[in-house]
Amino acid sequence: MAALLTLHYDVPGDDFTRAGEASSDVKKKLKALGVDPEAIRKVAIAMYEGEINMVIHAHGGTVTVTVEPDHIQMVLADTGPGIPNVELAMTEGYSTAPDEVRNLGFGAGMGLPNMKKYTDDIHIDTELGVGTTVYMTVQI
């Protein structure tokens, strides 16, 4: 069956103030589609954390959101440095973000844990020096 909606975004890596624009747009479009508000909240938070991560660690990237009748998939791809230890990165409180990011209210080691918490499935493909792709699914 064809997807109900496919959305694609470029996330700029050089402007922290713009992080979240894509998540905001997805939130609006899902609302217009009449998707369950709790599912929208989960998608918005998980994708927002992903956007912030891409800006902090990977100089930006791309996000593709596919809305299917029973689920929403988000694919966040970057060509950043890769994640050396995914298990460690998934631990609440573990962070490699610089202090200036903490001063902006992020970098507390909650990004990936939050993305896992708010999605029904998460899969991470990462290779050092090549990049990271995060696949997340929220059931609707």
């Binding site: 902006l104 209210g105 507390a108």
Partner: protein, 116 residues
């Protein structure tokens, strides 16, 4: 409690969104760490913070919050105000410090809500 009552209790000024002054709010949270707000907050209507950057408004938006109170007299820039107006989020600024502002609202009956 309404946003207008928050304004009175905290001796705060509206930066924008005064048209939503009669909006009812049930719960609030106070934090400068947006990751914690995203992780531990659910169904809160109001965010109190001393942090001033556009991600505060984005975080409030993602969490469906309707009001952000900046403590210690902080005032956001015009880009943040424009973003809040687009998202229909009321912005207030209070001279109170975070601890005092949270305490006053809690004592007046505004709860902390439930964990996400």
């Amino acid at each position: 409690m309404t946003i207008a009552e928050i304004q009175t209790i905290l001796n705060a000024d509206f930066i924008c969104g005064e048209e939503w002054r009669d909006h009812e709010v049930q719960t609030a949270c106070g934090s400068d760490m947006m990751s914690d707000v995203l992780a531990f907050v659910k169904n809160q209507s109001v965010l109190l913070t001393g942090l001033v950057n556009p991600q505060v408004i984005r975080t409030a938006e993602m969490m469906d919050m309707v009001c952000v109170v900046f403590v210690r007299g902080k005032v956001p820039d015009s880009a943040m105000i424009a973003l809040a107006q687009q998202r229909e989020i009321a912005l207030l600024t209070t001279p109170e410090r975070m601890f005092t502002a949270c305490g006053k609202l809690y004592a007046a009956g505004l709860g902390g809500g439930v964990k996400a």
